[in-house]
Symmetry: C2
C-alpha cells in the first residue's frame, strides 16, 4: 500500500514537473541556425524598443509590422531601414488589422505592444493562429480574461510569455542569485511596486510623448491616448507586474508556492487634478474630471508558504522613481530605496546597513556576466535585451518560456482583485489558482543558469 502510494506520488510529481505548454510541431525553419520570424502588433514607442532590439539580432526576421497610426509606422520603418533589414509587411488597417497579420503563415511569433485593454484579445487571437506570443505587461484586465488566456494557451499548446523586463534588472537578478544561495535565509517578507511620477506620461500636448500640456485621450499622444483613461475610471493597483514579477520568481510562485489572498487600500485621489490645475489653471476643461485612481494604492498579498508581499502603486504625485524592492529573510534584508543590505554575521557592523553594490557585484547573475555587452544600450538599463532574448531563445530551443502564461495571469490578476478589494471597502479576496493545483509540482526554471 505504502509503496503504491509513494509510486503514485512520484509519478504525479514527475508528470507535474513536465507539465508545460509547447506546440506539437515546430513552426520555424529546421536548419541549424533557426531564425524566429516575428510580427509586431503595435509599434508605438514601446513596440519600437522591441523592434529595435529584434532588428539587431541575426536569429530574428522581422516579417510584419502592424499599427493603427501612420506616424508610428513611419518611425518603425525608419528603424528597419537604418538597420539595413528588408522592408516587412506593413499593416495599417484599424484596430483589428492585426488579424490580417495573424493569417501570415510566415510568422512564428508575435510581439504585442498595444494598450492594455487590447492585450487579451490579441493574445487569444495570436495563440489561436498558432503563434508564439510575447506580450507587453498586463495580460488580462479581468479575472475572466486571465482564465481565458490560460485555457487558450493550454488548448492551443501555444506559450504566452509576458515581457516583464524588471525580472531581468541587474540588481534584481543578483538578489535572485543571492536568494538561491541562501544568503537571506528563509524568505519572510517582500516588497515591490510601481512608484513612478507618470503625470507627464498621462498628460502631454498631443505632439510630444511626455508633458508640455494636460491633454489625454483623443487630444493626447502616445500613452496619454489610452493609459490616462484607466486613471479616470479605475481604482486599484493598475501596474503591479514590475514589482511582483521579480518577487514571484524569488519565492517560486506557481512553483511550490502561490498567492493565496490579497487586500488593497487606496488613498485619496488628488495628484492628477492638482497637476492639471498647476499646469493649465482651474478653468481647463480637464480640471473638472473626477479621477478615480487613488494616488497611493497599497496592496498586501499572502502566499501559501506564508510570506507576505507588500505592493505600492504611486503614479500621480511628484516623486523620484522607485520600485521599492525589499527582500527579507531570516538572515537579513536588501532594500533598493536606500541601496543597502544587511546580512547578519556577514555585514561588517551589527545592526548597520551597508552599501549593497559590492554584494550586487559579487553575486552578479551568470546571465548578466555573459551578456552585459550584448545588452549594453538596450532600453531600461539593458534589461529589455534580456527579456526579448529569453522569448526568442525559448522559441529556438523549443523550451517553455521562463515566464509562462500562469505567471502572466497571476501577476496581472492583482489589478482586478485590488480594484474589487477597494470597491468592497478593503475586503480580503481569495487569489485564483490559475495552475489548478499544478503549482505544487512545477519547478522554477527562470534564469537557472547563463543560457537565457
Amino acid at each position: 500500500m505504502k509503496t503504491d502510494r509513494r509510486t503514485f506520488v512520484k509519478t504525479t510529481a514527475i508528470a507535474g514537473a513536465a507539465f508545460s505548454i509547447l506546440p506539437a510541431s515546430v513552426l520555424f525553419g529546421q536548419d541549424k541556425a533557426p531564425k524566429v520570424r516575428l510580427g509586431f502588433i503595435g509599434v508605438g514607442l514601446r513596440g519600437q524598443n522591441h523592434l529595435d532590439l529584434a532588428l539587431r539580432r541575426n536569429d530574428v526576421e522581422v516579417v510584419a509590422l502592424c499599427d493603427i497610426q501612420q506616424r508610428m509606422m513611419d518611425m518603425s520603418l525608419n528603424l528597419v531601414q537604418k538597420a539595413g533589414k528588408p522592408k516587412p509587411q506593413v499593416i495599417l488597417d484599424g484596430p483589428h488589422g492585426y488579424r490580417k497579420m495573424l493569417e501570415n503563415k510566415n510568422i512564428d511569433a508575435v510581439i504585442i505592444s498595444t494598450p492594455w485593454e487590447w492585450h487579451t484579445v490579441q493574445c487569444l487571437d495570436a495563440m489561436n493562429a498558432k503563434k508564439y506570443v510575447g506580450c507587453e505587461v498586463i495580460t488580462g484586465t479581468t479575472i475572466e480574461e486571465c482564465w481565458e488566456l490560460v485555457q487558450t494557451s493550454e488548448r492551443t499548446g501555444m506559450p504566452l510569455m509576458m515581457l516583464e523586463n524588471v525580472c531581468y534588472r541587474r540588481d534584481v537578478m543578483a538578489v535572485l542569485n543571492m536568494v538561491r544561495q541562501n544568503i537571506f535565509g528563509e524568505l519572510v517578507h517582500l516588497q515591490g511596486g510601481y512608484q513612478h511620477d507618470l503625470r507627464e506620461v498621462k498628460f502631454n500636448d498631443g505632439v510630444k510623448p511626455y508633458g508640455g500640456g494636460v491633454e489625454f485621450g483623443e487630444k493626447g499622444f502616445s500613452e496619454a491616448q489610452w493609459r490616462t483613461e484607466h486613471s479616470v475610471h479605475r481604482n486599484g493597483d493598475l501596474y503591479p507586474t514590475h514589482g511582483i514579477g521579480p518577487i514571484a520568481m524569488m519565492i517560486n510562485i506557481n512553483r511550490g508556492n502561490r498567492f493565496t489572498e490579497l487586500v488593497s487600500y487606496s488613498s485619496k485621489a488628488r495628484g492628477l487634478h492638482d497637476y492639471i490645475v498647476k499646469t493649465a489653471g482651474e478653468n481647463h476643461p480637464n480640471a473638472k474630471i473626477n479621477f478615480k485612481l487613488g494616488d497611493v494604492v497599497t496592496t498586501m498579498i499572502k502566499c501559501a508558504n506564508e510570506e507576505t508581499i507588500l505592493l505600492q502603486h504611486d503614479t500621480n504625485l511628484p516623486r523620484p522613481y522607485s520600485i521599492g524592492f525589499r527582500v527579507q529573510g531570516t538572515n537579513g534584508l536588501w532594500m533598493d530605496v536606500n541601496k543597502s543590505i544587511y546580512i547578519e554575521g556577514m555585514s561588517k557592523q551589527a545592526h548597520r546597513w551597508e552599501d549593497a553594490q559590492p554584494w550586487l557585484d559579487k553575486y552578479d547573475h551568470p546571465l548578466w556576466k555573459k551578456y552585459a555587452n550584448d545588452a549594453a544600450g538596450a532600453g531600461h538599463g539593458g534589461m529589455d535585451w534580456f527579456v526579448l532574448n529569453a522569448f526568442i531563445e525559448s522559441i529556438k530551443r523549443k523550451t517553455p518560456p521562463p515566464m509562462d502564461v500562469y505567471d502572466a495571469v497571476a501577476w496581472s490578476a492583482i489589478t482586478p482583485l485590488s480594484e474589487t478589494s477597494i470597491r468592497l471597502g478593503g475586503e480580503t479576496l481569495a487569489f485564483p489558482d490559475f495552475t489548478k493545483g499544478q503549482w505544487m509540482h512545477r519547478k522554477n526554471t527562470f534564469a537557472r543558469d547563463d543560457s537565457y
Copy 2:
C-alpha cells in the same frame, strides 16, 4: 433661521474646541514656582530613564518610587542619591504595592513604566486616585480597556498622557513643522512602524538586560521577563505607537480627522525560533516554543480624510533599526530610511532625491531650537526630555496634555484590532471613535509653538 443655525454651529464648535479633560481643582502647590510632585510606578530600566530626567528638574519633586524588584529599586535610589535629592518614599510590596503609593496625598502625578499588561489597571487606579497620569507606551491591550481609560479620564477629570517620545524626535518635529507650512502640500499617504531587531531584548541570560542567552520569563531579566510572552501568545502589531504617534499628529487624528478602518497581514513566524536554535542549539527547551508573532506584521489604516497609513512591525529578524517614516503629499515626500526628501519645484533636480538633512535643519522645530541644550544627553537622542517636559509643563500650566487620552487609546487600539484582523484572515475592521464625535471639533494643540 439661517442665522440661528450658524450660531448653533459656532457655539457647538467652540464648545468642542474647549472639550478637554482637566481636574476641577489644582492639586499641587499654589506658589509662583509650582513643583509637580511625582510618584513612579515601575522603576525598571525605562522608569529609571524618566526618573533620571525628573531628578534633574527644579520643578519636580520625586516623592515616591514603587517597584517589585529590589535590584531595580537599588539602582533607582542610587540615581536619587547621585542627584543629591531627598530620599523618596519606597514601596516594594508586590505587584499591587502601587495602590499604597496612590494613597499618598502628596503626589500630584504618576509616571507608569511597567509591563504593558499592567498599564491599564494602573492608569485607572491612578486617575481614580486623582493623579495626573503619564504612562509609557501601549495604554490598553484590548478595545474594552481603551474605552475604560476614556470613560475614567472623562469621569474623574484626570488627564492621561501616553509618553510617546518619537513624537518629539528632532527630524519628526522638523517634518511636522514642514507639514504645517504646507511644504508637502495636502498629505496623501504616510508610513511608519517599528522595525527593530529585538531578539537580544526578548532573550537574555537572566543577568544582563540584552542578549547573552535565550532565556525569558522567569529565567530572563528586564524586558525579557514579560515582553517576550507577548511574542509567544499574540500575533499582531504589538508596538504601533512610535510609528503612528508622529503620523497622527501630522494629519490631525482626533482633531478634524480620525482612523476609520484597519487591516493587518502577518508573515510566517521564523525569526525567534531561528535565533534560539542559532544561539543555543536545537535541544534548548525554548527551541520547542511555537511563537505566534509573525516576523513582519503589516497594517493598513484608512482615515476619515482619505489618507492611507502603512505600519510595519518587524522585531524578530536581524535588521538595522528603522521606524520607516514616509510622509507624502501633493508636493513631494520625505522618507527616513534613505534620509531623503523630494519637493517638486524646490528640490534641485526633478525626479531626484536629495539629502533631507538641510531641510530638517532649516525647518528645525521651535521647541528643539529652544531646548536642544536641555535635552542633550537625555535618552533616545534627547526626545525623552521633551516628552517628560511636556507632561510636567502641562500640569504646571493647567492645560490639557499635548497628547491626551483619546490619542493614547487610538494609537494603542491598533494592536488589538490588528490581532483580530489577522485572526479573521485579513478582515478590514471599523476603527472605534473614542472621541464619540468630538474629533470633528477638537483642535490640534501639539507643539504649536516653543512653549512645550
